[in-house]
């Protein structure tokens, strides 16, 4: 009779045996579960609910949680597919030893249960441990006070468990489908079957070139910020499609062209590298393209959000002219004294002292969205005490009244009473606004901080995914290449030649996505720069600096990963 718990124990054993492959999978599962929990925690934390300027941040966090969940799903599906491919031989052996497919399904079920338990439990523990740290980070970045206490929102736990349960269930179903499709002899052969050489797909290469060109073209030619915002996602999709096509078809076309050039191809260094790349491009092109796109995502997300955050003071400085300000659009000159009087009356009623009081009427083009400091300051300078500036031919008349308040004065109360007051005045236009700019600043600061936080958060998630894909790629290639390198040594390749050939191959495969990502980021620069204008950031130098800094940091991390995985690769190949 079969012992109780045979399959669970077998499942645990096989997880342990395949540790080299499963460990990174489980680790990334744990980390993504922790990240999902933490972002949900921040979204649901009651402590921050009660704070000012938090609404914008919370919306962002909700959006971030969705991205994390979808991304975790894609990541774990990809990794799981890779793992199953590697384990075909083992499963084939089980099959030959008399395990039926339904038994294997049971084994896979227990394996999935084990990995799900490890990932969810580990992820929750890690998430809870890190939650306070993330909260501190968020509060620091957003400029909020840190709420006291420590909480574990039940809803965050439930959502995390549900999301990851779903992901693992789906992975299990995919594995069953995979299992049912293969025959035992194929299971045994697994990854070793000869790979047909990829055909050159010119059409796809040209299509990739066109889409990529279109994406870059949009970025380089778009002239105004609003259009840039609208077309940004179109450009992103075009470039993603182009990247996949060019990596898959373009690389093969290029390598084949290199192979045709006999004097180039038949050199020790190029010979193995070109043919090896050609051989593996079919399967690995998609992986390389994914790494490239993830890298680009990290670079753009982090550099833009970092730049906005760094430039927040500059933006705020340009945004608001005074602490409290009122405009009347399409107004009349006789409105000015009424609003002026209202300000003085309210200031006296509330006992606040107005500083830098400014009041004037000016004619400005209707298209000009004239309530930023940058817009109003020139008129104030031109007025030099006069009440009306400009020519009616310039556009409709606007009335502007504003003042600064002492730091301890209650700006929101003052702004609110002014706003109530204006609605009771009989103005020539009903189109009037009163801004509490201090609250506006705090709100804006919080949302840019939130952007930055989400940028960092998602950036590190994307980075983790890129690392994982790179790691698995290197490992699987190591196992595939080991045999080739033994043969080459037998045929007369020296150890040193083997090493340099490996190095040139790895570095090519590694740095191709990085270079492409740098190109994409540079290509997107004109467009992202325009979008930054929408946020009021005009400092191109700062943006350039942030982009370069982000890229350097990223390249450093990337190089570290390269060194680590290259070492692992050597170890496998050297056997």
């Amino acid at each position: 009779m079969r012992k109780v718990g045979f399959y669970p124990r077998l499942a645990i054993r096989s997880l342990r045996l395949n540790g080299k492959f499963y460990l990174p999978y489980l680790l990334s599962g744990i980390v993504s579960a922790a990240m999902l929990y933490d972002i949900l925690f921040l979204n649901m934390n009651r402590g921050i609910y009660q704070m000012k300027g938090v609404n914008a941040v919370q919306g962002l966090l909700g959006f971030g949680a969705m991205v994390v969940a979808i991304f975790s799903f894609a990541l774990l599906c990809y990794t799981n597919g890779f793992l199953m491919k590697r384990r075909q031989k083992e499963l084939g052996l089980y099959n030959i030893l008399g395990m039926e497919k339904r038994h294997m399904a049971r084994l896979l079920f227990w394996e999935t249960v084990c990995s799900a338990l490890i990932c969810v439990a580990g992820g929750l523990v890690l998430g809870v441990l890190l939650s306070k740290l993330f909260l501190l980070l968020l509060c620091a970045v957003v400029g909020m006070e840190v709420p006291f206490g420590f909480e574990v929102p039940a809803a965050a736990v439930v959502y995390t468990v549900a999301a990851f349960g779903g992901i693992f269930l789906l992975n299990y179903l995919l594995n069953i489908v995979r299992l049912n499709k293969v025959k035992p002899i194929e299971l045994l052969k697994g990854t070793e079957s000869g790979e047909r050489e990829p055909r050159t797909k010119w059409l796809l290469a040209v299509f990739g070139l066109l889409t990529m060109g279109a994406g870059y073209g949009i970025s380089l030619t778009v002239s105004d910020p609003v259009t840039a915002m609208v077309l940004f996602f179109l450009a992103v999709i075009l470039v993603i499609v182009g990247t996949y096509c060019l990596f898959t078809a373009g690389s093969i076309a290029l390598l084949k062209a290199l192979r045709k050039n006999k004097t180039y191809y038949y050199r020790t260094r190029h010979f193995t590298a070109v043919s090896g790349m050609l051989h593996r491009m079919k399967r690995n092109a998609a992986g390389l393209a994914t790494i490239c796109i993830l890298s680009t995502m990290v670079l753009i997300t982090v550099s833009t959000t970092l730049c906005l955050y760094m430039g927040v003071n500059e933006i705020l400085d340009r945004m608001y002219c005074r602490d409290v300000q009122t405009y009347v659009n399409h107004g009349a000159p006789e409105d000015l004294p009424k609003v002026k009087a209202l300000y003085e009356r309210k200031a006296a009623e509330l006992g606040v002292k107005m500083e830098d009081f400014a009041a004037l009427c000016f004619y400005a083009p209707a298209t000009e969205y004239a309530n930023n400091r940058a817009d109003i300051e020139p008129y104030l300078e031109r007025a030099d005490g006069a009440d009306v500036v400009g020519d009616p031919a310039d556009g409709p008349l606007r009335v502007y009244v504003g003042c600064n308040l002492a730091p301890n004065a209650d700006a929101s109360l003052f702004a609110a009473s002014v706003a109530v007051g204006t609605s009771q005045l009989e103005l020539s236009s009903s189109w009037s606004f009163t801004d509490d700019c201090r609250a506006g600043r705090a709100d804006f600061w919080a949302s840019l901080g939130g952007f930055f936080f989400i940028g960092l958060f998602l950036g590190s998630l994307f980075l983790m995914a890129a690392v994982l894909i790179i790691y698995y790629k290197q490992i699987s290639e190591g196992y595939e290449d080991a045999r080739s390198f033994v043969i080459m040594q037998q045929v007369g390749m020296t150890q040193a030649e083997v090493k340099s050939s490996i190095r040139s191959q790895i570095s090519l495969v590694f740095f191709l996505p990085l270079v492409a990502a740098a190109c994409h980021t540079a290509g997107a620069f004109p467009m992202t720069k325009k979008i930054m204008l929408l946020f009021g950031l005009t400092n191109t130098g700062l943006f350039l600096l942030c982009s370069l800094g982000t890229f350097l940091l990223f390249a450093l991390v990337y190089y570290g990963i390269y060194r680590l995985t290259a070492r692992e690769y050597y170890r496998i190949v050297r056997r």
Binding site: R196, T263, Y266, F271, M488, Q490, G492, M493, A496
Partner: protein, 255 residues
């Protein structure tokens, strides 16, 4: 002077923790003249592979010497060994050891590319060789598109393109069916007739009966040798089978 001389060769394998060693080769001496076709026969564990690995400079002997063209292989420096092997020895393996990523042409070119030869020269060498091996039509195919016999002939092409002094073949028919084996052995015979020296290691009687001389290896020693002389392949087959029967039934050697 013989092309290849093996004198009092010994090889002892010791386990990593020390302890007693296993003596794979005890005292092996023989010589191969230029233009010979020699087979070394023996059961598994007789030391065949060890011997071949030492001849191929893949392994170093514990004692004794191997001279190729009068040059002691022990004198070749470690970092020159690969180049030495590439320039003097050609290899054919049981499981072909072709690279999947290369076409037949590029597989054959591989050693020359590693030696830094130009394309024109490689091509000039390839065509007559491919003609002789009957793989001229297959040059642009990939290994996975070939039959076992075609793969092995490709491997022979790769071994011979460097014009090695000696062709070392390790169980070349081991993974082939009888028809492909026969055709490969005929290729060997005709190469040998053109002056190529061949040293083959096998335990297949059929393969051995094609060679001009057969050495029998047992328990790390040369036990016996047979010259084919004017005998037909059939007669040689019977002779070798008889020798093997005697050898495995445990009589003392009389070589």
């Amino acid at each position: 002077m013989s092309l290849l001389e093996v004198k009092n060769l010994r090889k002892v394998y010791t386990t990593r923790l020390g302890g007693t060693g296993v003596e794979a080769l005890k005292n092996v001496s023989f010589a191969v003249e230029a233009g010979e076709f020699v087979t070394i026969m023996g059961e598994s564990g007789s030391g065949k592979t060890t011997l071949l690995n030492i001849l191929a400079a893949l392994d170093r002997p514990s004692g004794g010497r191997v001279l190729l063209n009068g040059e002691d292989m022990a004198g070749v420096r470690e970092r020159d060994v690969t180049a030495f092997r590439r320039d003097n020895l050609g290899f054919v393996f049981q499981d072909f050891n072709l690279l999947d990523a290369f076409t037949v042409r590029d597989n054959i070119f591989l050693p020359l590319v590693l030696a830094g030869k130009g394309y024109e020269e490689m091509n000039a060498r390839l065509l007559p060789l491919a003609q002789a091996l009957g793989i001229r039509e297959l040059l642009d195919k990939f290994p996975y598109e070939l039959s076992g016999g075609q793969k092995q002939r490709t491997a022979v092409g790769r071994a011979l393109i460097t014009r090695p002094a000696i062709l070392l073949a390790d169980e070349p028919t081991g993974a082939l069916d009888s028809k492909a084996s026969d055709s490969l052995l005929r290729v060997f015979e005709s190469l040998n007739a053109q002056g190529q020296t061949i040293l083959m290691v096998t335990h297949s009687v059929a393969a051995a009966s094609h060679s001009k001389r057969t050495l029998f290896l047992r328990d790390g020693m040369i036990y016996h040798q047979l010259y084919r002389g004017n005998r037909t392949i059939g007669e040689m087959f019977a002779e070798i089978s008889h020798t093997l029967t005697v050898m495995t039934s445990g009589e003392n050697g009389h070589a």
